[in-house]
């Protein structure tokens, strides 16, 4: 895949259709893949990477990049195209300045899950028939591919590209995913159990703001979390209240716009399952206001930007089953 992508990018650069390419390059470690801009064929040849660790969603970078001079080539996985569509809907990107090549998505790997098995000092990872051959400084190790898959890929919602100029590979389908299973499991717990679960998770938060910075829906130029008067400005949480408040507000601000790309949980250095908060909102919107998938199209109105006279009352929450 990587070869085909480099060739495609080189060809588009040579034809003058695009001026820049946004892709990924390797950081310090093999599993440390980060988005990068390439301007020449040599740079592509040298640094461009697309492998099982390339999970980063580049849609958000296009907010800034598409406003620059010239056209940019972006390789988007199916989940990234949802985010991109949502950005078009919100007029955050200049569509004409982006050339989209759709590429097949995951499942992608989570280095943390490999490390959890006690495999450290990773030098290279190869996928051979869904067994990972991991070369480490201490020798070679193996583990099943599906035990190291990212949570967001394990409950993939769609392999279908929502928007593209060109496709590399086959067009996929919208999947029947099990993504609400964990939300349902939590809903069926008692209030005390839920409270304990979330205290345990949210108390790990160090307020690094990675979840906010990576989120393709969080694109406000002035963020409430940067405002010193908001009472929730950037600093380590001093009280459990601040942890709760940050995560409620963060999830609420993207409610109805979150495409469930799962980047928030992927980047969390503390492994907090943040996507559960977003999924709870998605699930509620689906039950209360009808099925809605953000990023599926560029014309429909977001659920929180419209209303129906027949909407349920807020007290429906209080009338729901036992505590």
């Amino acid at each position: 895949m990587q070869e085909a992508m480099i060739n495609k990018a080189k060809q588009l650069l040579a034809d003058g259709i695009v001026d820049r390419v946004i892709g990924w390059k390797r950081g310090e470690f093999v599993y440390d893949i980060t988005p990068a801009i390439f301007e020449t064929a040599e740079e592509l040849e040298k640094d461009f990477v697309y492998d099982d660790f390339t999970a980063a969603n580049v849609s958000k970078y296009l907010v800034k990049e598409s406003k620059k001079e010239g056209k940019i080539l972006a390789f988007l996985k199916p989940c990234d195209t949802y985010s991109f569509n949502q950005l078009i809907k919100e007029h955050r990107v200049v569509r004409e300045n982006v050339y989209i090549v759709g590429i097949p998505g995951g499942p992608k790997l989570d280095a943390e899950k490999i490390k959890e098995k006690g495999i450290t000092g990773i030098l290279s990872v190869k996928n051979e028939n869904y067994t990972l051959k991991i070369e480490t400084v201490y020798g070679e190790e193996t583990m099943p591919f599906y035990e190291a898959v990212l949570d967001k890929c394990a409950s993939c919602k769609s392999k279908k590209h929502m928007i593209y100029d060109e496709l590399l590979g086959e067009e996929g389908d919208v999947l029947d995913s099990n993504r609400f299973d964990m939300v349902e499991k939590l809903e069926n717990m008692t209030a005390q159990e839920r409270y304990d679960f979330w205290r345990e998770q949210l108390s790990k938060c160090i307020r690094c703001n990675a979840c906010r910075n990576v989120c393709p829906a969080c694109t406000c130029e002035k963020c409430v979390f940067d405002n010193p008067d908001s009472g929730i400005e950037n600093k380590a949480p001093a009280d459990s209240f601040e942890e709760n408040m940050f995560h409620i507000i963060r999830a609420f601000h993207v409610a109805g716009r979150c495409t469930d790309c799962g980047e928030c949980s992927r980047v969390c250095p503390q492994n907090i399952p943040l996507h559960l908060l977003n999924r709870k909102f998605i699930k509620d919107i689906n039950t209360f206001y009808g099925e809605y998938q953000a990023g599926e199209d560029t014309t429909s109105r977001a659920p929180l930007n419209e209303y129906k006279q027949s909407d349920c009352e807020a007290n429906i929450v209080h009338e729901r089953g036992a505590e």
Binding site: A191, Y195, W198, G231, F241, N244, I249, A251, A314, H318
Partner: protein, 148 residues
């Protein structure tokens, strides 16, 4: 001599009331000399949709034990549609608070028109009783804001 009456837990309740209906409803309750508990602290807002989730959370942070949001009946909004948006937002927010294990009876949305002084008083009495039963807000409090 001991005064036992004062030992009962007295909750602090914040009521966001929209200027056009609920605030006038509270006024009517007053002029009709209807009783409602002094635990209720009313904050007047131009429209119920002025209240964003931060307001509710910040009220809890500053020591509220319950938050109630009152607005015009759906269809009667002074700004045509504000309360419809409130309704969607608050449904999602309350559901999220419930999801985080925070007692759902601490929050409520009630529609009170300017002519419903009696409903205002009854709602506030009932809500205060419900919050009293729950006891002090411990799950969504900020220890730094607790008064000794």
């Amino acid at each position: 001599m001991q005064v036992n009456e004062n030992k009962e837990f007295q909750p602090l309740i914040v009521a966001f009331c929209c200027n056009w209906c609920s605030y006038a409803g509270a006024d009517l309750a007053g002029t009709n000399r209807l009783n409602y508990p002094d635990n209720i602290k009313i904050i007047r807002v131009p429209c119920s949709c002025r209240v964003n989730p931060m307001f509710i959370l910040r009220a809890f942070q500053r020591g509220a034990d319950g938050v109630i949001l009152c607005g015009c009946h759906p269809g009667d909004c002074h700004y045509t549609s504000g309360n419809y948006f409130t309704r969607r937002r608050m449904t999602l927010l309350f559901s999220m608070l419930d999801f985080l294990g925070i007692e759902r009876d601490r929050t409520r949305v009630e529609w009170v028109s300017a002519a419903e002084g009696a409903k205002f008083a009854a709602t506030m009495n009932e809500f205060t009783e419900a919050v009293k039963k729950l006891g002090p807000n411990r799950r969504l409090e900020d220890l730094r804001c607790r008064k000794q």
